[in-house]
Subunit: 267 residues, 2 copies
Amino acid sequence: MSNVNWIERGEIAKQWVLEAAEHIKKALASKIHVEAKSNPDDLVTDVDRSTEAFFYEKVSTHFPSHHFLGEEGISENVEQMDGTVWIIDPIDGTMNFVHSQFKFAISLAVYHEGIGKIGIIYDVMAGELFQAIEGQGAFLNGKPVQKITERPLEESILGLNARWIVEDRNPYRRELAQLVRDVRGIRSYGSAALELAYVASNRLDGYISVKLSPWDYAAGIIILKETGCCVTNFNGESLSLLKGGSVFAGKPAFHKEVIKRYVGRER
Amino acid sequence: MSNVNWIERGEIAKQWVLEAAEHIKKALASKIHVEAKSNPDDLVTDVDRSTEAFFYEKVSTHFPSHHFLGEEGISENVEQMDGTVWIIDPIDGTMNFVHSQFKFAISLAVYHEGIGKIGIIYDVMAGELFQAIEGQGAFLNGKPVQKITERPLEESILGLNARWIVEDRNPYRRELAQLVRDVRGIRSYGSAALELAYVASNRLDGYISVKLSPWDYAAGIIILKETGCCVTNFNGESLSLLKGGSVFAGKPAFHKEVIKRYVGRER
């Protein structure tokens, strides 16, 4: 396994993503069946499920020894990150998908022995494909992403869902409210995967969320690393791919300052 | 003036918008000069100014009797809405433009004797052109926009800038915080003009702002009207095109409920 060609494998993964996107676009022409999962706002559709099954079929046929972890419940032997693991969110931003068929993404990551090898985030309707292979840089539709440029915190634009600053049970409510006051602007696109890709491509200076799951950020981690951005939990620790939690991605100086002054354990 | 062909004039306006967008995209290749206006986060660039001048030159040459109101200070005799008035925001979402060259728009409106005749909102980088001519419907890149579908308030997605719910001096802070708790999702794209276009095209159920200026919403009003959406101030009154204030656009039932329960005078 030491001489795997990850660039070639990345090309295969990209073709699968584009193929899945065509299925999704076709499905939009017919009626989509929507269900709630853990709460009334946590949605899943038959298209999420069929897209996950599509990827599982591809991976298990072409790479029978690989493991698979998908948002919609297909999980194969993923209690640790040994071997090669595919982590897939078939439709990240399902609420956007259901409401408006706008700003949702396929997120696909491949890890080998715990190391991120391939990350792809695809905005299906906008046709924007963000991709990184370990050590090869990050690309948007085949061109290097815009280089990140640092700005002082008070001139930064942060991706953050306004829900976090009104929910009393959120332990970071006050800290995030202060951060919202201190930065220059707040954006919210409704797809964590895309917002991580936007940090990597200089569209946002940071993106913060109190709770995400591994399939939301598995690909983002790999793309962010290639652009020199940082992504950790609120204490500045590496993210787990086996269980979710807080996530903060940002340009290095902004990332350091927000953890130190707002959300980190030592603040 | 009673037999003006507004469809033909809308076509001319659209060509100017596309031409202006080409200038803006070219300008992105060179260094952009940024200044702050009323406060450090209220930005203007030489590209905003040159784009406004481009439109003023076009309008004053082709329609010398028309009036003109632009965000960046070109105003010709607009103390009332008599005659034909062009209201233009050359770059709506200047912060996005400066930071990331992503999600900014040209907003162009033509009013005749106070009646909205032509509205155009163009997302320059995404190439999405929203357009309406009075009585002719609303279009996205030449095709009718997605028909609006009503949802209950608790399933709605609202465009709202999180800044409004952390600023103590905002008199609607509590009401908007409660609204954020009650709806299904919050989005923020950083361009009021685009967010109004997104309400008109079923991507958002509503968009709310405590303070906007006429050039931010002049085109949005015309596009929203063609799709059956409502847009008023927080008391449900028609918006002024001569001075700014609160703005709430939404699908009819959602609009009515939010004004009644959250932000209207009679709440």
